[in-house]
């Protein structure tokens, strides 16, 4: 048996651009070497200006997303205002650390726009927030996507260029990972709109 992390497979990547952020994920949901579906959602819109991408054990992806959705809804009701992306990033870290000794098997990436400024943070499974880099990866294909990102990434890209770069990095990385792939979805968030593009990839 391989690791808990490799049971379902999947990869995610997030990038910062000039006043925009992008997230991409593959679409595979598998059980070790079998593929169950090829349209599993791994990037979630938490708020108009916050995206949450999750990779790892799919049941925990679902549970953790539901937990975060609950937190932000309660926050909106109690405080009667939207949550800032940096606040949400800290909330994710605390929610993960709360389960330090029985963790969720997820590695989230949070991306958002705060007053036009891009925010990007990634975490290990127990809430170590890392928000200094311009791109973050997660999932079984993460290490391969790292390589593609280091090569293709440029700072301060426009939303259209960022969409291309993140799409190519995801696809290149997932091609080298047996447990990720079967399609890709790219989300690009700017102040005005969120674009969702379903990529055409090799069907493997």
């Amino acid at each position: 048996m391989s690791g808990i992390f490799e049971y379902n497979g999947g990869s995610i990547v997030g990038m910062k651009g000039k006043n925009c952020i992008a997230m991409a994920c593959d679409r595979r949901f598998g059980q070790q070497m079998s593929t169950i579906t090829t349209n599993y959602q791994k990037v979630f819109k938490i708020q108009d200006n916050i995206l949450l991408a999750l990779s790892g054990l799919n049941t925990d992806i679902h549970t953790f997303y539901a937990l975060m959705e609950k937190e932000i809804n309660l926050y909106n009701l109690k405080e009667n205002r939207k949550m800032k992306p940096t606040t949400f990033a800290n909330l994710v870290a605390s929610a993960l650390y709360e389960r330090r000794f029985g963790p969720f098997f997820v590695t989230p990436i949070v991306a958002g726009l705060e007053n036009g400024k891009p925010i990007l943070a990634t975490y290990d499974s127990i809430g170590c927030k890392s928000d200094l880099d311009d791109f973050q990866v997660g999932g079984t294909g993460g290490n391969y996507i790292y390589g593609a990102c280091e090569a293709f990434f440029k700072p301060d890209m426009s939303p259209e260029e960022l969409e291309e770069v993140i799409g190519q990095s995801l696809v290149s990385g997932c091609d080298r990972d047996a447990l990720s792939g079967w399609g890709g979805v790219v989300y690009v968030l700017t102040e005005q709109k969120l674009t969702v593009k379903i990529l055409k990839t090799k069907q493997t």
Binding site: M1, I4, E98, D124, I126, S130, E161, E164, V171
Partner: protein
């Protein structure tokens, strides 16, 4: 038992709901995910009138560098800093927790935080967890009793010594410190010694790398220099950069959600609005 959930939530602290499930999975043979650890070299050096602490900036997850430039020097109080090695999440959250706890105490008592008080609070928290909170810290600061430097191990043991090093690169750094440390160093000498010790850790230990951060704490405050030395800068520029043409990646479908109008449309389909 919803009232229990609410009570526990407002009480804070650790949540053990998933422990049994995770134990079962481990028993079935699954391996756990690697936590981000700070492979690390951290040092502390006492000098005449204060204390200097330095750290490298690499965070690892297994054998991958998870963060090339993380911050390992944490503020616990304006006059007490901590350098941390071990599990990165534990370090970050415990230091944030103690920062808040000490601030509240300062507001209540209207007194400066003391180094020995920080050590006591830390060890009292760590010991009951039997080393499961993976923080190995070097605590340095200056208070009414003068400059002090101590190291705290994850099990709750603490040691006061004029120079300390911890982390996977501690042996490399200790070599430099044992050879070159003297009593009565000046501030600049102590800073140079600390940087040299971290350099030894960065070059000889695989778990440490990237840059050096330094903080010098004296009566006048803490002088924090982030990335005072950088060994890992990219030394080349790609001659012909990758320039992807726009709209080159083939797409099956493309949607657009306009935030102001809160409207979802499918791009490429004439005026088809999808709810």
């Amino acid at each position: 038992m919803q009232y229990l959930d609410n009570y526990l939530q407002s009480k804070g602290g650790y949540d053990y709901k998933n422990v049994k499930r995770n134990e079962l999975m481990k028993a079935q043979g699954f391996k756990e995910m690697p936590f981000t650890k700070t492979g690390t070299t951290i040092v502390g050096v006492l000098f005449d009138g204060g204390v200097v602490m330095a750290a490298d900036t690499r965070a690892t997850a297994g054998s991958i560098v998870a963060d090339k430039n993380c911050e390992k020097l944490h503020v616990l109080a304006p006059n007490v800093w901590a350098a941390g090695a071990g599990t990165a999440a534990d370090l970050h959250h415990q230091c944030a927790h103690f920062n808040a706890k000490l601030k509240l105490q300062r507001l209540n008592l209207n007194r400066q935080s003391r180094v020995n008080e920080v050590i006591t609070k830390l060890t009292s928290k760590l010991f009951p967890y039997r080393g499961n909170i993976g923080v190995a810290l070097i605590i340095g600061g200056i208070d009414c009793n003068g400059p002090q430097l101590a190291s705290v191990s994850p099990h709750g043991n603490y040691v006061y010594h004029p120079f300390q090093s911890m982390g996977s690169g501690s042996l490399a750094a200790l070599g430099i410190l044992e050879a070159k440390f003297q009593d009565g160093l000046t501030k600049q000498q102590a800073i140079d010694l600390a940087i040299e010790a971290i350099e030894a850790g960065i070059f000889h230990d695989m778990g440490s790398g990237s840059n050096v951060d330094v903080v010098a704490i004296t009566k006048d405050g803490a002088d924090y220099k982030r990335n005072v030395r950088q060994y890992n800068a990219k030394s080349y520029q790609r001659q012909i950069p990758y320039d992807f043409p726009i709209n080159n990646t083939p797409a099956l479908r493309k949607y657009q959600f306009d935030i102001e109008k809160q409207e979802l449309t499918e791009v490429g389909q004439e005026m088809e609005i999808i709810e």
